[in-house]
């Protein structure tokens, strides 16, 4: 995931520059770089514990709106993830979404990461009896469509909302990064 974030840093910075303050790519890069060193320097066993460490690192290192939101997402996902099968993964994604909504109070259509995450959760739940790789693939695909759907929207949450009508016509950086993260999860699940 860190590699994906690093590769897309400039794209996310540019997206955030259009309708926000231009730091989203840098925020995430700082966060995921810290995640990599945290994982390197500690012994984590279960997937749930990995997610917890990721969550804590993101919360303390990312800052911005996306730090606490993504951190909460990973933290909640950790609690939802007992076993590693399709149903657990779908449940973890649902828990993550609930966490983001609880903190940020955004709905679908507000032009935020929720526009990517909520369709992803729904798509995952629809195929939850399949393999982890298939569940994540469905989620990633839906997140991509969801992210694209933010383009025409007028933002109602976060920094972009200050632009009013002028926020329309731009992809939301948080929705885009959410879909990138899910795609990278799906790719690694497919490879393993």
């Amino acid at each position: 995931m860190a590699t994906v974030v690093a590769a897309h840093r400039d794209e996310l910075v540019d997206l955030d520059r259009m309708i926000g303050d231009g730091d989203h790519g840098e925020n995430l890069k700082r966060g995921f770089d810290a995640v990599v060193s945290a994982l390197d320097s500690s012994e984590v066993d279960t997937p749930a514990n990995v997610l917890k460490l990721v969550a804590k690192t993101l919360i303390s290192k990312v800052g911005g709106a996306s730090g606490p939101l993504l951190g909460t997402a990973f933290l909640r996902a950790a609690s939802g993830l007992d076993e590693v099968d399709g149903a657990s993964v779908a449940a973890a994604l649902r828990a993550a979404l609930d966490g983001v909504v609880a903190r940020g109070k955004a709905e679908v259509g507000d032009k935020t990461m929720v526009d990517a995450l909520q369709p992803a959760v729904e798509a995952a739940e629809a195929v939850k009896d399949k393999s982890v790789a298939e569940v994540l693939a469905a989620a990633a695909a839906a997140a991509e469509t969801g992210a694209e759907s933010t383009i025409p929207l007028v933002a109602r949450k976060g920094r972009a909302s200050y632009l009013g009508e002028r926020s329309a016509g731009h992809l939301d950086p948080g929705a885009r990064s959410t879909s990138l993260l899910l795609r990278s999860l799906a790719d690694s699940a497919a490879a393993s």
Partner: protein, 333 residues
């Protein structure tokens, strides 16, 4: 991008080191997580006032750390809210046992990160309160947005609440005073040029040679309306009118007028604009009782300005006049 820096990713850390060296009598700096604390912190028995936010708005907030104002500031990356661990570290450094007030500017990121920090700090049995300032009248329809932003009014809040805390006010009074300032302060800003965030490397927006941006935030985010350039008389009126209407301010009101540069606007223009604002207020019968003019809440090298009005009463005026000793605001000591 031309800047006096070594590496975009170390700008804030290097600047903090320079700040510590520049003001050894006023403050000390902790580097990871980054905290700027009053040199004599913790002050036993005093309510600790802590603020923070993205860097790039200097002197806010680090320049307001010192006797009679902030106990600590948490500087985030440029234009990025600080992280909860910074706020926790600040509390550890400056908590004098009488409780902590967190002063937060209303941005989703700042609110979420300070909220998280407040939860964590409260778990350590520290009494902590949070106030969120949202003085920017540029943001309309706040039901459909993240709400009004916190901008230049923050300085006035920090000065007034800091003075009260220094005089021994308890946490309840500090919080109440902060809410009183928030209820009585309004701001609006404009930009003539954009600024360039070091790690972005390009201006945050483009403005033509004959355009300005009205209702600008302090993070290089574009404002609400792009307009054709106008004479200073008109520019000042466009800032002042919405501010006056919003509270509203009326004839006979006593106010503090704060004419703020966004960084790149020179003092000669700022004083010129300040004079216009004073005359417009006099015409309306509003009494300017105190004033602050200068670059206090900036957006890096952005050219532009903001006007802030705070409705004064005897309590607020006395606290404004009380001694303060920080890098950027200093009088009476």
């Amino acid at each position: 991008m031309k800047k006096i820096i070594n590496d975009p990713s170390t700008v804030v850390d290097e600047a903090l080191q320079g700040m510590a060296l520049a003001h050894p009598d006023l403050l000390r700096v902790q580097r990871d997580p980054a905290v700027i604390a009053r040199a004599d912190a913790p002050v036993r028995g005093k309510v600790a006032i802590i603020s923070g936010g993205g860097s790039g708005h200097e002197p806010m907030h680090g320049g307001f750390v010192g006797a009679g104002m902030l106990d600590a500031a948490c500087p985030g990356a440029v234009f990025t809210s600080p992280t909860p661990d910074q706020v926790q570290a600040a509390v550890e450094q400056v908590n004098g046992g009488a409780g902590v007030l967190l002063v937060v500017k209303n941005y989703t990121g700042d609110v979420l990160n300070f909220e998280t920090a407040a939860e964590l700090v409260a778990m350590d049995d520290v009494e902590v309160r949070t106030v969120v300032i949202d003085d920017d009248v540029a943001v309309k329809d706040s039901l459909y947005t993240a709400g009004r932003r916190g901008v230049a009014g923050t300085v006035l809040l920090e000065k007034i609440v800091g003075a009260a805390a220094e005089q021994g006010a308890d946490l309840d009074r500090c919080e109440a005073l902060a809410r009183k300032v928030i209820a009585n302060v309004r701001s609006l800003g404009l930009a003539l040029t954009a600024c360039t965030v070091p790690h972005v490397g390009q201006p945050s927006f483009e403005l033509a040679d004959d355009e300005y941006e009205l209702g600008i935030g302090i993070h290089g985010e574009p404002g609400r309306e792009r307009r054709q350039m106008e004479p200073a008389d008109d520019l000042v009126r466009r800032l002042l009118d919405p501010v006056l209407e919003d509270l509203p301010f009326a004839a006979g009101d006593r106010v503090l007028l704060f004419t703020n540069s966004m960084g790149g606007t020179p003092l000669v223009e700022l004083y010129l604009a300040h004079g216009i604002a004073e005359k417009l207020l006099a015409e309306r019968g509003i009494v300017v009782e105190r004033r602050l003019v200068g670059p206090y809440v900036t957006s890096l090298e952005m050219q532009g300005m903001s006007l802030t009005l705070l409705k004064l009463d005897d309590e607020l005026t006395e606290l404004w006049d009380a001694p303060v000793r920080t890098a950027a605001l200093r009088w009476g000591m």
